[in-house]
């Protein structure tokens, strides 16, 4: 939750004028399973949630839940740990209830 993390979110400092020439997509793994598998409409965002300088992936979903897959080390391609629920300050699961 530190402000310096914002730079990792948008990567503006690194961005240069560019056009997309994307490689064929690859499914990301989190631990031993596919990231976002079995979630309702997973919405991933890059964000360094634990402040270790590496962009983790936070995944929201239609149910209003958030998980994080922490990036492990600085290897390329990136390796992500198993997804964990994002918790609130009260220690409970952060839940943006839909209905």
């Amino acid at each position: 939750m530190r402000l310096h993390d914002l730079s990792l979110l948008v990567c503006a400092a690194l961005a240069v004028a560019q056009s997309p020439n994307f490689a064929p997509p690859v499914r990301l793994m989190a631990g031993e399973v596919h990231l976002g598998e079995a979630r309702l409409y997973p919405s991933p965002v890059f964000h360094d949630l634990n402040g270790d300088g590496a962009a983790d992936i936070v995944v929201g979903d239609l149910r209003g839940h958030l998980t994080v897959a922490h990036r492990k080390g600085a290897s390329s391609p990136a390796v992500y740990a198993s997804e964990e629920k994002v918790l609130g300050a009260d220690g409970k699961i952060l839940d943006l209830q839909n209905w």
């Binding site: 939750m1 402000l3 993390d5 914002l6 990792l8 979110l9 948008v10 990567c11 503006a12 690194l14 961005a15 240069v16 004028a17 560019q18 056009s19 997309p20 020439n21 994307f22 490689a23 064929p24 997509p25 690859v26 499914r27 990301l28 596919h34 990231l35 976002g36 598998e37 079995a38 979630r39 309702l40 409409y41 997973p42 919405s43 991933p44 965002v45 890059f46 964000h47 992936i57 936070v58 995944v59 929201g60 979903d61 239609l62 209003g64 958030l66 390329s76 391609p77 990136a78 994002v86 918790l87 609130g88 300050a89 009260d90 952060l94 839940d95 943006l96 209830q97 839909n98 209905w99």
Partner: protein
């Protein structure tokens, strides 16, 4: 949902802004202690910020209103605003809201008429334009995201689209609107395609096909922006050539599956019959009671169906629809004016 990590209330701590499926933008305030309880972002009158459709938490049902429609706005279809990002559109030092419409391709704006620390959001939505026209994302808006795609220091707008979530019509894509204005006046240019809408029809999971939720970062550290996309992949595995013995086994398994379905259906029909004639509340109470009574029987049937399906599926694979998160590595760092190359 697509959470946005941003210091929304200008207290020096990152917060989370997210539109969710109830039709309103939400805020989770961050502090040194962690994340606070989620709250709705309200307008200056303390009313919910919505499009037309919204989940009514008091009445516990879907509801609809026109109170937030832009003056004179006559949408062909009502809106449901399920995605949100905070962006200072007019350079006045506070965040306005950009809201994506799940039911159409429109994107709306709520102006902050207050300040960064004491926001007061307008009571009406504004239609957001790009290249002089209302934004109309192909396949309806799944999410809105901000990214400085061309590195000019201005926030551009990316939209992931839904596409036809279950049918055979085109799926979703990812689209970009470059900010051709300035920090004091955001203006979006014509729509570019970052990822073309899916035509579906694959025999294996090859890409996100529907409900596309993108985000961007330099994933591999090579100095350009890569794209991560969450969504559903739809595919139909190729038919399997069966031996005579397998064909016989398939017949047996299908008969078993049909029998299990019939047993389950009989239980549900009996429950419906038992609640017929009761008023709504009594029917709901009786239905819950009967479902609790039959819970073990229904669970056993479900488990048996799973066993049958597990054996049947490799021989007669059905259509698949599963959610994943994909990374699109950006291979090219090229001139800004080179046209996008949709895949």
């Amino acid at each position: 949902m697509s959470p946005q990590f941003v210091d929304f209330d200008a207290d020096g701590q990152l917060d989370i802004v997210a539109g969710i499926f109830d039709g309103s933008p939400h805020l989770v305030r961050g502090s040194a202690k962690g994340w606070g309880a989620p709250e709705q972002i309200l307008d200056r009158d303390g009313q919910r910020i919505v499009g037309n459709a919204f989940w009514n938490f008091d009445a516990k049902k879907w509801d609809e209103t026109d109170r937030c429609d832009p003056p004179g706005h006559k949408p062909a279809k009502k809106g449901l605003l399920t995605s949100a990002v905070a962006l200072d559109l007019d350079g006045d030092g506070d965040f306005d809201l950009v809201l994506g419409d799940h039911y159409t391709g429109a994107v709306f704006v709520r102006r902050n008429e207050g300040t960064a620390t004491a926001p007061k959001f307008a009571v009406k939505n504004e239609v957001l334009h790009a290249d002089g026209k209302p934004i109309d994302v192909p396949g309806t808006v799944a999410t809105v995201r901000l990214v400085d795609w061309n590195g000019d220091g201005l926030q551009d707008l990316a939209c992931g689209s839904m596409g036809d979530p279950y049918g055979t019509a085109a799926g979703g894509g990812v689209f970009l609107f470059l900010n051709v204005g300035s920090k004091s006046k955001v203006e979006f240019g014509e729509m570019q395609t970052l990822l073309a809408t899916s035509m579906k029809g694959a025999t294996a999971p090859t890409r996100p096909d529907v409900g596309l939720h993108p985000d961007f970062a330099d994933y591999d550290g090579d100095g350009d922006l890569d794209m991560v996309v969450g969504g559903y992949s739809l595919w139909s595995p190729p038919a399997v050539v069966l031996t005579a013995a397998q064909e016989d086994r398939v017949k047996v398994l299908r008969a078993e599956a049909a029998e299990l379905d019939e047993k389950s259906s009989t239980i549900h029909k009996a429950i419906i019959a038992a609640t017929k004639g009761l008023d709504k509340e009594a029917a709901a109470a009786r239905r819950s009671e009967l479902l609790a009574e039959k819970k073990d029987a229904l669970s056993a049937l479900s488990k048996q169906r799973q066993v049958v399906r597990k054996e049947l599926d490799p021989m007669v694979p059905g259509a698949k629809r599963e959610s994943f998160v994909w990374i699109y590595e950006n291979l090219a760092v090229g001139p800004a004016d080179r046209p996008a190359q949709p895949r």
